[in-house]
Point group: C2
Chain length 161, copies 2
DNA sequence: AAAAATTAGTTGCATTTGTCCACTATCCGA
DNA sequence: TCGGATAGTGGACAAATGCAACTAATTTTT
C-alpha cells in the first residue's frame, strides 16, 4: 500500500513531513512559492511581474495619489532602500511619477501616470483571476473563511510594525 | 507610534489596497515575508536557518531514511540543482550523509546523522512554537480551519507537479 | 536661535537565491 | 544494442535582500 515501485524508499505522496504537517508557517511558505510562480507566469512581460511589491505599489499609487514611498514600504514589508529601487524601476517604466512632497521636502509624493493607470486596469483583472483560479480547489466558503482570517492576521502585522 | 495624521495623503491604516483586499494570493505572499522573517529570527544561528527547504529537508531525511534528493526537491518545490546545493550545505554541516542508492546508482540515498537527528529534535520544537506564536491572534478554531484548507491546497499542488 | 535627534530617501556592497542550461552517468524499454 | 528518460553536478547569471553609511530636511530640545 505504501511503497511505490521505483522511486526509492519514499515517493512524494506518502512522505512524512513530521510536525510540518500541522505547521501553518510551512504551508504559508510553500504556497507562497507556488502562488508566486503562477502569478509571475500570468503576468509575464507586464513590467509589473517578478518580485513582491510592484503590484501593490501600482495599486497604492493609483488609489492614493501623493502617497509616499515610505508608506508603501510599510505595506509591502520592505525597507526604504528596497522601496527606492522599486520606485526607480517603475518610474523608468513610466508607470508613476515622483514629485517632492509639498509639505515636506524630504519626502516624495507619488502619482500614477496614464500608462500606469492603464496597466492597473489590466493587472487588476489578472490578479483577481489568478488568485481565484489558483485556489479554485477551495469552495467559495473555504476561500472566504481563509481570506477573512488571513486578512485580519495581515492587518495585525501591519499595526505592529 | 506609526503614522500621525500628517504623514502625507494616506497613512498605513487607512490605505486602499484595491482588489488586493480580497485577493488570497496577496495575503499568502505578504504573510510569507513576515512569517519567514520571524522564523529566521527564532532559528538564528542554527545552521538550518535562512531560506526555504533546510528544515523540510532535515525532517524528511530524518523521517524517511534513504530518501532521494529529487524527491525532496519535489516537496520543497525546487529544482534539482538548487536541491543539490542544499544537500551540499547540510552535508558540510554534518547533518546528513549521502550514499549511492543501492537499487539505482544514478540516485542518492540520504541518511540523517546523529548531529542531524539531534538538531531535528530541537528544530521540531522551535518550528512548532514559532508557528503557533506567530499566528496566535487566531483562535484555535480559526487556526485549525485555515490549516486544514491550506494543507489540502498544498497537497493538490504536489499532486499536480 | 542653535544644537541634537528624527525622518526620508539614496547609494554601495556583500550575500543570498533562484534559474537556466549544458553535461555525465545510469537506467529502462523497444 | 540503441535511444530516450532520469538523477545529479556545475557554471553562469540575473534578481532580490539586507545592512550600513551618507545627505538633506524637519522637528524637538534646550
Amino acid at each position: 500500500m505504501t511503497t511505490p515501485t521505483k522511486n526509492g524508499p519514499a515517493s512524494v505522496k506518502d512522505i512524512d513531513i513530521d510536525v510540518l504537517e500541522d505547521t501553518l508557517s510551512f504551508y504559508i511558505r510553500s504556497l507562497n512559492i507556488a502562488v508566486s510562480r503562477d502569478l509571475d507566469e500570468k503576468l509575464e512581460g507586464l513590467d509589473v511581474a517578478q518580485g513582491t511589491g510592484k503590484i501593490t505599489t501600482l495599486f497604492l499609487v493609483d488609489g492614493n495619489p501623493g502617497i509616499r514611498p515610505s508608506t508603501i514600504a510599510q505595506v509591502i514589508l520592505k525597507d526604504r532602500s528596497a522601496m527606492g529601487r522599486l520606485v526607480d524601476q517603475m518610474e523608468e517604466h513610466g508607470l508613476l511619477q515622483r514629485k517632492i512632497a509639498p509639505e515636506d521636502s524630504r519626502a516624495q509624493a507619488l502619482y500614477i501616470t496614464d500608462r500606469g493607470a492603464l496597466l492597473a486596469v489590466h493587472v487588476r483583472r489578472l490578479v483577481t483571476l489568478q488568485s481565484r483560479e489558483f485556489f479554485s480547489d477551495m469552495t467559495d466558503e473555504e476561500h472566504d473563511v481563509v481570506l477573512d482570517i488571513l486578512r485580519r492576521t495581515y492587518r495585525r502585522i501591519l499595526e505592529r510594525s
